[in-house]
């Protein structure tokens, strides 16, 4: 079967790629475009490691076909920092040591950014429920939650 020719905006860059019908957006990002920051943890939408923004919504890229991204705006962890200037969430994750092995971190960062774009002043409970779709086996979540709350506070100008 012929490959699909897709044009999408990825981290602000207009990008063209060819993909097989069965390839997921995650496969395309990692294997065709070398955006390996996005990780596969389960391939079934249960762990959130592959979270990216698609047209302003956070999605599990393992559940989206590469062909579905035609015309879409995709944002991955690689697009979070502005050059050498880290996003406040990234800064706060360093300050709080909110990561250990780092494999779930890109997905958690993208999901957290999506939260703060919708709700700049979440309660701890809201952060915990929002991030319940992202599994982390290392941290027990404590420092992640604190880092997200702190980043939210800073982004509100406190």
């Amino acid at each position: 079967m012929a490959k699909y020719h897709i044009t999408a905006e990825i981290n602000g860059d207009e990008t063209e790629y060819l993909c097989e019908p069965e390839q997921t957006l995650l496969d395309v990002l990692r294997d065709e475009l070398n955006y390996t920051g996005t990780k596969e943890g389960c391939g079934s939408g249960d762990c959130g490691a592959c979270t990216v923004m698609m047209n302003g919504r956070h999605v599990c890229s393992c559940l989206v076909l590469g062909a579905e991204a035609n015309g879409a705006k995709i944002e991955t962890v690689e697009g979070m920092a502005d050059g050498d200037n880290l996003h406040p969430l990234q800064e706060k994750f360093i300050e709080h040591a909110a990561l250990q092995c780092g494999i779930c971190t890109p997905g958690i960062l993208v999901a957290s950014k999506a939260l703060l774009e919708r709700n700049p002043d979440p309660t701890e409970t809201e952060v915990r429920y929002w991030l319940a779709g992202n599994l982390c086996r290392c941290t027990g979540y404590d420092k992640i939650i604190r880092a997200v709350m702190d980043a939210a506070s800073e982004m509100r100008g406190n």
Binding site: G37, A97, L99, C101, I103, Y129, T139, K143
Partner: protein
């Protein structure tokens, strides 16, 4: 303390790359000409293989090769091994060790067992062809259930009659029996330590390459111990000569023990890459991780505690059936024996202890070390029986523990079960934990809960663990096949920066930061000028890897030893340059100074002089590059007290952890921020085991909990924030005074949680995981 030295909460230097998507994990690496592997896996728990027909699969699109166990054996690639022999009771010198073929030879023994390798141009083609391989299975009855395996009607391995791997014992049976004869009170519990699945969020993966020009193999693999991988794969599996095999473990996404082991996949892919003449990549699908990563725990035990009228422990008698799964994984045999029963003294003065353990085979995934490895099982059993005894004798559980603690002036303390503890102050941890948890206010909080129709409970866990694994001679005497020293190599560069190579391997613990702090403290080098290199057998010295909370206690000690050698040599160079006697040179803060003068030479200048030795002491070799191997004198013994407080809605069984307090004595702490994170993560896993997680096989040996929809991992809304503190009695047995912090949380937390839940529910036993339904049942029974 300097800003970046020992004890400083230095921000983790490795985090920048992880946070920007620039981590470099095995599955992130792709090479030219790469093919993809898929394993044909057994759908049956126990079956004979009468034949494998891969004709149709071999003809499928993109298939490069289909390889089976016969071809593997024909090339002389040997079976997977277990590196620890357990001698049994009554003079039995060796445990029963069934052959574990990397690809099945005529029989499969668990669902997921490896039957054949399919190599194809794409992953989709490999997966599709794997489904086309026709395997003629003749199903056999499955042996399932830890308590049912011994003398089951079905025998899994001829080499293990009655499905027994070993019948092992420790302690003094007659002294223990005598203690029970004199007891004023005996507490007996039957207790299950539930099987859990490690679930590192990075699935296991490997990328194997063979260079025809040089005859060298390179294996990228998700390993906690790449040097051990190389050793085992060359010495025992015969895949490649040791000096021709380079093993690289790049960034590793969590392990928790599950990436210690040498698995079939990396052995088979490394063998096959030469055979097919192409690089081969394999990455586990999550379902394969569930089925085939070595599982953890899985004990069924009976514990009896004998007490005198004052609540002093007189004796402890334990029988444990330990499920080892279908084959012995790399260190499986040691986990329910020397890693477990040697900790049954806990923090107490119990004078007589006896434990016997039957290791059994079942048609399930192999079971091996999982965060804590044996020590959580010991702590859970002991702290449950102690808590139960306190309830039965109507003694405050904190008070009962206090009455039995080994006192601070009693060290070194020889337990009745091998270990000699070096130092500790358990009462100090208990006092601090009670204070932080506001135990004094518990009665009022409980009354408040009850006024709202809720139940409230408080549970203690007073744990000890043996870390800093381990003195090689002791390991050898107990049947271990390895030395458990560690190595370090410190190379000053001519410009004064430092490259430190060590044989441990980071997979989330922050080694790049913590080890750099040790170097910064010892050698006075700014942290940004220090590079920590791990995980590549071609770069650093041979080393034993990261597990058993050993990296700082053993690896850190090796680094200190190598740093001492740097200073020693630096003094010779500085003495020559400063025209002083070597004995007059003092070293501090990175400067060599002639005592009592202002004559000084920085270590960077000394390094430059060592590499440009124009004005140089006679008889001293150029260069500033030292190596050390450190074999620990003893284990280290972190200990502490965790207190969990829960509130339960008896109408639904919903349990909320309303406070979780941990006070740990890790001795010297290099980086409190990293250590706190280690404790948090360990507690998270322990709470998961206590309340949510459980690997369940049905009677046919199908893993019922084989996905995240069925296996309940703790999520952000399941856990509280943690209230964490420390006490400190630095270990006198290693140069840093450290003890290790990686496993404490997972060891301490399950009994704290279950003691709290049972306290809330009227005291009756609840087995882990204490699911909402079980808690609801217990509440119903209590009302």
């Amino acid at each position: 303390m300097t800003e970046t030295g020992i004890g400083a909460a230095v921000r983790r230097t490795e985090d920048q790359r992880f946070l920007t998507g620039n981590g470099n994990y095995t599955d992130d690496i792709n090479v030219f000409g790469q093919t993809y592997a898929a394993f044909v896996r057994s759908p049956h728990a126990h079956a004979k293989i009468n034949g494998i027909n891969s004709t149709a699969a071999a003809a499928a699109d993109g298939v490069v090769a289909i390889l089976t166990g016969e071809e593997l054996a024909a090339d002389g690639v040997g079976p997977l091994i277990c590196g620890w022999n357990i001698a049994g009771k009554n003079g039995v010198e060796a445990h029963n060790s069934p052959v574990h073929h990397a690809l099945a030879m005529g029989k499969v023994n668990y669902v997921g067992d490896h039957v054949a390798l399919v190599v194809a141009e794409t992953q989709a083609q490999a997966d599709s062809a794997a489904e086309m391989v026709e395997v003629d299975y003749e199903e056999l009855p499955a042996v399932i259930g830890t308590g049912k395996a011994l003398n089951h009607a079905t025998t899994i391995h001829e080499e293990a009659p009655g499905n027994m791997c070993y019948d092992w014992e420790i302690g003094d049976a007659s002294a223990t029996d005598a203690a029970f004869a004199n007891a004023a009170h005996t507490t007996t519990i039957e207790i299950v330590n539930n099987r859990v699945i490690p679930n590192a969020m990075e699935p296991r993966a490997c990328l194997a390459q063979f260079n025809k020009g040089t005859g060298d193999w390179t294996l990228h693999v998700t390993s906690q111990n790449p040097h051990v991988h190389r050793l085992v794969m060359s010495a025992f599996n015969g895949v490649a000569p040791e000096h021709k095999l380079r093993v690289i473990a790049p960034d590793v996404g969590g392990g928790f023990g599950s990436k210690i082991f040498i698995y079939a996949e990396e052995v088979v892919c490394t063998w096959a890459t030469r055979k097919v003449g192409r690089p081969i990549k394999w990455t586990a699908k999550r379902s394969e991780s569930f089925l085939c990563d070595a599982h953890g725990r899985d004990h069924v035990s009976k514990a009896e505690l004998a007490l005198d009228a004052d609540g002093k422990f007189l004796g402890l008698r334990v029988n444990t059936k330990a499920n080892l799964g279908s084959y012995l994984s790399t260190f499986a045999s040691a986990v329910p024996t020397y890693m477990y029963a040697t900790l049954l003294a806990g923090t107490y003065t119990t004078p007589a202890i006896y434990c016997d353990v039957q290791g059994v085979f079942t048609n399930t995934a192999p079971v091996d070390a999982y965060r804590g490895a044996g020590r959580p099982e010991a702590t859970y059993l002991l702290e449950r029986v102690v808590e139960t005894a306190a309830r039965e004798m109507n003694i405050d559980p904190a008070d009962l523990r206090r009455r039995n603690y080994i006192q601070p002036d009693a060290f070194p303390y020889q337990t009745p079960v091998v270990h000699q503890y070096d130092i500790g102050d358990y009462g100090a941890s208990l006092d601090k934990a009670c204070d932080m948890a506001d135990v004094g206010g518990f009665a009022a909080r409980r009354a408040d809960s009850e006024s709202r129709g809720k139940r409230r409970g408080l549970g203690y866990s007073s744990y000890i663990e043996a870390c800093g694994i381990a003195p090689s001679a002791a390991v050898g005497a107990l049947g271990g096949g390895v030395g458990l020293w560690e190595s370090a190599d410190i190379r000053f560069n001519a410009t004064g920066s430092v490259t430190v190579m060590t044989g441990t391997h980071n997979h989330g613990q922050g080694h790049e930061t913590a080890f750099a702090q040790v170097i910064s403290e010892k050698l006075g080098v700014p942290i940004e000028n220090i590079e920590i290199v791990e995980g590549d057998t071609d770069k650093g010295p041979f080393g034993m890897g990261t597990y058993g909370s050993r990296s700082i206690a053993v690896g850190g000690s090796a680094i200190v030893k190598a740093a001492d050698k740097i200073v020693e040599k630096g003094k010779k160079i500085a003495a020559h340059c400063l025209e002083a006697a070597e004995d007059d040179i003092e070293f501090a803060g990175g400067n060599f100074t002639v005592a009592g003068t202002d004559k000084v030479m920085n270590i960077a200048e000394v390094a430059f002089t060592a590499y440009v030795p124009h004005n140089y002491p006679e008889g001293v070799e150029p260069g500033l590059h030292e190596q050390a191997f450190y074999d620990p004198l003893n284990f280290s013994f972190p200990a502490g007290v965790h207190i969990c407080e829960v509130e339960i809605d008896p109408t639904t069984g919903e349990t909320e952890i309303v406070n979780y307090t941990a006070v740990d004595d890790f001795g010297t702490i290099i980086n409190p921020m990293i250590v706190e994170g280690q404790v948090h993560g360990g507690i998270g896993q322990g709470v998961g085991q206590a309340m949510l997680e459980g690997a369940n096989y049905d009677e046919n040996g199908q893993l019922v909990t084989g996905s995240y929809m069925d296996y309940t991992m703790p999520r952000a809304d399941n856990l509280p924030n943690f209230n964490v503190g420390t006490t400190s009695t630095p270990s006198p047995l290693n140069p840093l005074g450290v003890k290790g912090a990686g496993e404490a949380g997972a060891i301490a937390s399950p009994p704290a949680v279950i003691n709290a839940i049972t306290d809330a529910c009227g005291g009756a036993m609840i087995d882990m995981p204490a699911t909402q339904e079980k808690v609801w049942q217990a509440c119903q029974a209590a009302e």
